[in-house]
């Protein structure tokens, strides 16, 4: 069963480019969409996962921001 999760990433701390990249990278495990300009995000999990999707996603975005010298 597909599970829908919502997440808000504060736009003052998270970068839209990194979020978009993370959405692409998570494509195979979840359908993720940015809902609004405040970075409200909806995650539709395709398969059951061992790790919590929402938290893994936000960590991944932070990691991308650091690796790509956005921060």
């Amino acid at each position: 069963m597909k599970k829908k999760i919502k997440l808000v990433l504060n736009k003052n701390f998270y970068d839209k480019k990194a979020i978009s990249q993370a959405i692409k990278d998570f494509e195979h495990i979840a359908k993720i969409t940015i809902l609004d300009d405040e970075f409200g995000i909806e995650l539709l999990q395709k398969e059951p996962l061992e790790e919590p999707l929402k938290e893994e996603f936000s960590n991944y975005v932070l990691g991308l921001m650091k690796n790509e010298n956005i921060i």
Binding site: N10, N12, F13, Y14, P52, E55, E56, S58, N59, L62, G63, M65, K66, I71
Partner: protein, 150 residues
């Protein structure tokens, strides 16, 4: 004094003053914690930044929060020292590059300063003590003997 560390719902929330710890320091500390905790940043960029840490494995939450605060101090100190040693690092890099290509030294007022530093470094080299006579170039020590053999 407000409590800066709050444990709730299996996670610990830290309230960080951005005047003491700018955002880049918080990002650096957060990056270190990505392996062991889920990190979520929130709050007000100018007043109070909230760092929520949710450990990936069971862990003492107050200890986790304390470790994060230590990491903040660590990076704040690193940033401070990096700023202090910026000039000398630039000089050292300039010196290293100058060794290979003297033409990269700019022809402006700065050149005088670099030359002074280079001269000082060369003087330091000359003043090296060598009581055992070790610092003799190979050519000087053995070069003439080889010529005689020929």
């Amino acid at each position: 004094m407000d409590k800066k560390l709050e444990v709730r719902d299996g996670s610990v929330v830290l309230k960080v003053n951005p005047e003491f710890y700018p955002l880049d320091i918080i990002y650096s500390a957060a990056y270190v914690f990505l392996d062991k905790a889920y990190v979520l940043l929130d709050g007000d960029l100018k007043k109070e930044i909230l760092v929520k840490l949710q450990p990936k494995q069971k862990q003492d939450l107050e200890k986790l929060g304390g470790e994060f605060l230590n990491e903040l101090i660590n990076y704040a100190d690193y940033k401070h020292r990096a700023a202090q040693t910026k000039t000398i690092r630039e000089y050292l890099l300039q010196r290293a590059l100058f060794t290979n290509d003297p033409s990269i030294i700019p022809d402006d007022d700065e050149e005088v300063d670099y030359n002074e530093i280079l001269n000082e470094l060369e003087e330091d080299d000359e003043e090296l003590d060598d009581p055992e006579g070790i610092a003799v170039p190979w050519e000087e020590k053995y070069g003439q003997k080889d010529e005689k053999k020929d």
